[in-house]
Amino acid sequence: MPRNRRLAAAGVTAAAISLLASACTGQSKSGATDDASKDTTITFWHGWNSPNEVKAIQDDVKAFEKAHPNIHVKVVGDINDDKINQAVRAGGSKAPDVVSSFTTNNVGQFCSSKSFVDLDPFLKKDKIDPAATFPKTMNEYTQYKGNRCTLPLLGDAYGLYYNKTAFAKAGIKAPPKTWSEFLTDAKLLTKTKGDSYEQLGFMPTYHGYESTTEHYFGQWSPTYFDANGKSNIAKDPAFAKAFTEQKKLVDGLGGFTKLEKFRSSFGDEWGAKHPFHTGQVAMQLDGEWRLGMTQDAKVKFEVGVAPLPVPDDEAASYGKGYVTGTIVGIPATSTKQNAAWELVKYLTTDTEAVVNFANAIHNVPSTLAALKSPDLKYDPRFKTFLDIAENPASTTTPASPNGGAYLVSIQNLGFDFEKGKRTDLQAGLTKTATEIDKAIEQAK
C-alpha cells in the first residue's frame, strides 16, 4: 500500500519542510550605511500587551518621533523571543529594525550568533560610556563576551512581598532577613485545612510562579561559569546551599506532594486571582510589578515589601537580590541601523524617556541618572526594588551561547531534588554541569 506509506512519510516531511523553510533563508547582513537624517520609517517590535503598557511604550515612541521628525516608527506589540529569532533569520521587508525582549536569558544567543549588531561602535560614536550610564548588573546581562548587542530598557528586581495583616495575626513584627527566620515565619503563617491549606506561609516549589531556581540563587551570589566558560554549579558551593535551603522549605511546609496539589488550585499569575492577592499565600517572591498588581486587585490586606532573605552566614549582605529586565537591540538584518540606533539611544539613555516609561509601567529605571531622578514617581515601598537594583551585591544570570538552556538544566535538577526523586545532590550537580557543558559545546 504505497499510498499509506506516503501518508506516513508526509507527516514527518511536514517537520522537515518547516525546518528547511528557515534553514534556507541565508545569512543576515550587517553594516550601518543608512542616513539617519533623511526621512525614513523603522519597525519596532516589543513584547508588551496589556493596554496600559502598550499605551506607555507608544507614548515613548511618540515623544521620540517628536524629537526626530524625520524618523517614523511602526510599532508592533506582543512579540516573543521565538518570533524575534525567526524574524532575524528570515529578514525581509517586514523584519524589525529595533526589537525588545523580556528574556535577558537569550542575550548570549543574540550576541554570539551575531543576529543582533554590536552596539559598541554606536555608543562610542555618541560618547556614551555604558559603565557610567547603566547599573552594574544591567551592564552584565546586556552583553556576551565583550559583544554588547543589547542595552537595558527598564529593569526588574526581585524581592519579598508579605501580607502585613497575616504577619500581625501571627505575631511577626518584621519581615525575615535570613532563611532560618524565613522558614520559622513561613511555618507560623501556615494554617492547614484538611489535607490542604487555609493559608500557606510561602509556596516554595520551583513551579511556584517566580520561585524559580535563578531567582532564589541570587541570594547566594553564585558563579554559574568558571573562567574557561565551563559550568561551575558542581564546584561553587552556593548552588548546593541554595538547593538545600529550598528543600528545607518544601519539607518544612508540608512536603512536595501536598504543596503541589495546593499550587494547582492557584489562579493565573498575571490575573487578580493570584494566590498572594487572595490570601492563599502570605509571602511571595516576586518582581517589582506585583506592587502595582496588588493595588489594581484591591487586595484586602496591607502589603509589605522587603528584600529576600539571605543565607544565615551572610546576614550582612541583606538587601541584595536578583536583577534582570527588558533588553533592546538592533537585528543584523536591519538596513536602517543608524535610524534604529537613534530610537535605541532615546529609549535607553534619555533620562526623561526612561523615567516616564518607568513611571508608566512601574518597572525599575535602567539608567543611573533615571534611578536618581526627582521626576521618578513611586510608592514608598517601591524604593525597596530601586535599592535592590542599585545594590552592588545584587546579581544576575550570565549570558550563554545557547540562551537560557543552562538555567533550564539547573531547574530540572531542582524539580528532581525538591520532590525527592534525586537525593544525591552533589552527583546531580556534577551530572547537570556535564549536561550544560555538552549543550553549550553543541551550540557553538
Binding site: A16, T25, F102, S113, S115, K261, K421, A439, Q442
Partner: protein
C-alpha cells in the same frame, strides 16, 4: 531503419506525454517530499544556526541527540507510549461508539451530534477545558470523586497520570473516527448478518466473523492515520504542561515542555524546541529523521500484516 526511428520517436513522445500528465505529482513529490527529506538528512550532519553558513560536523549531532541530549529518550518513550495506548483507545472507542449509534433505534441524530461535537473544539481550548476539569485542587472531576470517597489522582500534575489524562482527552474528541466507522458499519451487507443468524451465530460471533472482516480496511486506515497523528502530537501535551505547571509566560520564566517530570514531552516538541527555540537545526533534523523512520517502520509493519487484516474487496 526509418520504421525503427518512427517507433522510437513514438515511444519518446508517449513517454513525454506520460511525464507531462505525471508532472503535477512529480513536482509535488520533489518539492514537498524528496527535497525536504534530502535536505533534512544533509542538515543532520551539519552545524547550522540559521545565520552562519552550515558546517559539516559528521555524526556529532547524532551522537549528541542519542547520548547527551537528556530529553530525547524520555520524548521517544512518551511518543511510543502514546502511539500504542492512545491509538488503541481511539480506535476501540471510535468503533464502539460507531457500533452503539448504528444499533440504537431512536435519537441517533442526537447521539451523533453529542459524540461529534467535541471533535470540533480547537485543540488548545479543549486541552485547557480538560486541564480545568481535571485540576487536582479545584477541578470538578476530583471533587465528585472525593464525594464518593475516592481520592482523585493528580492528572496533568502527576507524571503517572498525565499521559492517561491526554488519552482521555483524545478519546473525548473521537468524533472523526466515529463518523468513519459508522459509514463502514452501515455498509456491511445485511444478508451476511442474516446468513450468520440462520447459522446460529451469537452477536459476538457476528461481530468477529462478519463485521470485523468487512470493516478491516477502515480499521487499518484508522490505525495508520492514528499513528501518524500521534507521531505529530504537539499542541495538547504542550498546552496541558503549560497550564498545569502554572508557567503561562512572563519575565524570567523558562518553560521546558514535558511537565510534569518530562512525562508529556513528545518528539515533535523536541523538533520545535531544538529547531526554533535554540536554533540547533542539525540536532532538530536528527529528531525529525527519527520520527520519519519510526513512522515508516510502523507503517511497514502494519502493511506486512495487511493480508490478515484486509479481506473485503480483494
Amino acid at each position: 531503419m526509418s520504421a525503427t526511428y518512427t517507433l522510437r520517436s513514438k515511444r519518446r513522445r508517449a513517454a513525454l506525454r506520460a511525464l507531462a500528465f505525471m508532472s503535477p505529482w512529480l513536482i509535488g513529490f520533489g518539492v514537498f517530499f524528496a527535497y525536504p527529506l534530502i535536505s533534512t538528512v544533509y542538515f543532520s550532519f551539519t552545524h547550522y544556526n540559521g545565520i552562519d553558513p552550515p558546517t559539516f560536523t559528521g555524526f556529532k549531532n547524532w551522537s549528541y541527540v542519542f547520548n547527551d541530549y537528556p530529553l530525547f529518550w524520555p520524548a521517544l518513550r512518551n511518543t511510543l507510549w502514546l502511539v500504542l495506548v492512545m491509538v488503541t483507545c481511539r480506535v476501540a472507542f471510535g468503533l464502539g461508539i460507531g457500533l452503539l449509534i448504528t444499533k440504537i433505534k431512536t435519537g441517533t441524530g442526537l447521539f451523533r451530534t453529542f459524540f461529534y461535537l467535541p471533535y470540533l473544539a480547537p485543540p488548545v481550548a479543549a486541552t485547557m477545558a480538560f486541564a480545568f476539569l481535571l485540576n487536582p485542587g479545584t477541578g470538578p472531576v476530583n471533587s465528585i470523586l472525593e464525594k464518593i470517597g475516592i481520592s482523585g489522582p493528580g492528572w496533568f500534575t502527576d507524571p503517572s497520570w498525565s499521559k492517561p489524562a491526554l488519552t482521555l482527552l483524545a478519546v473525548w474528541g473521537i468524533g472523526d473516527l466515529m463518523v468513519i466507522f459508522m459509514a463502514a458499519l452501515l455498509d456491511v451487507p445485511r444478508e451476511q448478518y442474516e446468513a450468520a443468524e440462520l447459522d446460529g451465530a451469537s452477536s459476538l460471533q457476528r461481530f468477529r466473523f462478519v463485521t470485523l472482516p468487512n470493516i478491516s480496511p477502515i480499521v487499518m486506515f484508522a490505525v495508520v492515520t492514528g499513528i501518524i497523528q500521534t507521531m505529530q502530537y504537539y499542541t495538547q501535551p504542550l498546552v496541558a504542561g503549560k497550564v498545569a505547571s502554572g508557567v503561562i509566560g512572563g519575565s524570567g520564566q523558562q518553560f521546558e515542555p514535558g511537565f510534569p517530570d518530562k512525562s508529556t514531552l513528545t518528539l515533535p516538541q523536541l523538533v520545535y524546541t531544538l529547531g526554533f527555540q535554540t536554533f540547533n537545526y542539525g540536532a532538530s533534523c536528527v529528531v525529525a529523521l527519527v520520527l520519519f523512520v519510526l513512522a515508516m517502520a510502523f507503517t511497514a509493519l502494519l502493511m506486512r500484516r495487511r493480508g490478515g487484516l484486509i479481506q473485503a474487496g480483494e
